[in-house]
Amino acid sequence: MLARVKLTHTVNRGWHVDVPTYSMIADSFLPIIPGKIDKNGPLATTNPADPALNAMTVQVECPDNYAHPITGKIDNPRIRAIYQGNPKWDRPDYIPPD
């Protein structure tokens, strides 16, 4: 499934999407803000805490069985079933990126 989602930033992993399996589509970051966000991500000089990055999204390819059959969005119960027993993903409080 293709999905356009928001990103997460941590010190250890940098910018990433908070799902178990994905591939970023090249040149798909939006919005493009000159001097801050390029088509392939935030520039090295951009502070990760810059509020301009709050609206940043990227298109990703995820496994088809992540999708809710009606909404088409990445679905928590499906992720929990696929990764049953995984301490990070098999959690009721995990909220997939939207």
């Binding site: 999407v17 392939n40 090295a44 000089t45 995984n86």
Partner: protein, 142 residues
């Protein structure tokens, strides 16, 4: 009294039903950027996955002033170990058309919840680099 246990006959992994998985990031003229996870793969429950091949190829499109590098890595996280780079390639920015590649051609077995992920990082402004980072995986029932 001896109790003999006969192991259940199981076919080898490559003779079972395999789900092929390909994770890939292929981008040209990428501008400078901070650490970014371009793709990640987590082994599902009740599953094992062989990493059949992992490849990185990067190309520095033009020479620019300043120190710094562009690099791409493929990391494997196999509990309880922390992320370990199984492939890494980097180029210096002072040399145009500088290329580097890294290949892993042997099988690496990942168990449920293990992670394979590809990252890129490019530290010098005004650079443009091409990246190709891919892995061919074979997923099968544990």
């Amino acid at each position: 009294m001896k109790i003999l246990l006969t192991p259940q006959a199981r076919t080898l992994w490559h003779d079972r039903t395999i789900t092929p998985v390909n994770q890939s990031y292929d981008a040209g003229a990428v501008a400078s950027h901070t650490l970014t996870v371009r793709w990640t793969y987590t082994v599902p429950a009740s599953t094992k996955t062989f990493v059949q091949a992992a490849l990185i190829d990067i190309l520095n499109r033009s020479a620019v002033a300043g120190t710094g590098i562009s690099q791409a890595r493929i990391n494997a996280t196999t509990a309880p170990l922390a992320a370990l780079a199984i492939a890494r390639a980097a180029v210096a920015h002072a040399v145009a058309e500088n290329t580097n590649h890294s290949n892993v051609g042997s099988d690496i077995l990942l168990l449920a919840s293990d992670i394979l992920e590809a990252t890129t990082e490019q530290t010098v402004a005004t650079t443009q680099v091409n990246y190709f980072i891919t892995a061919k995986l074979a997923e099968f029932a544990a």
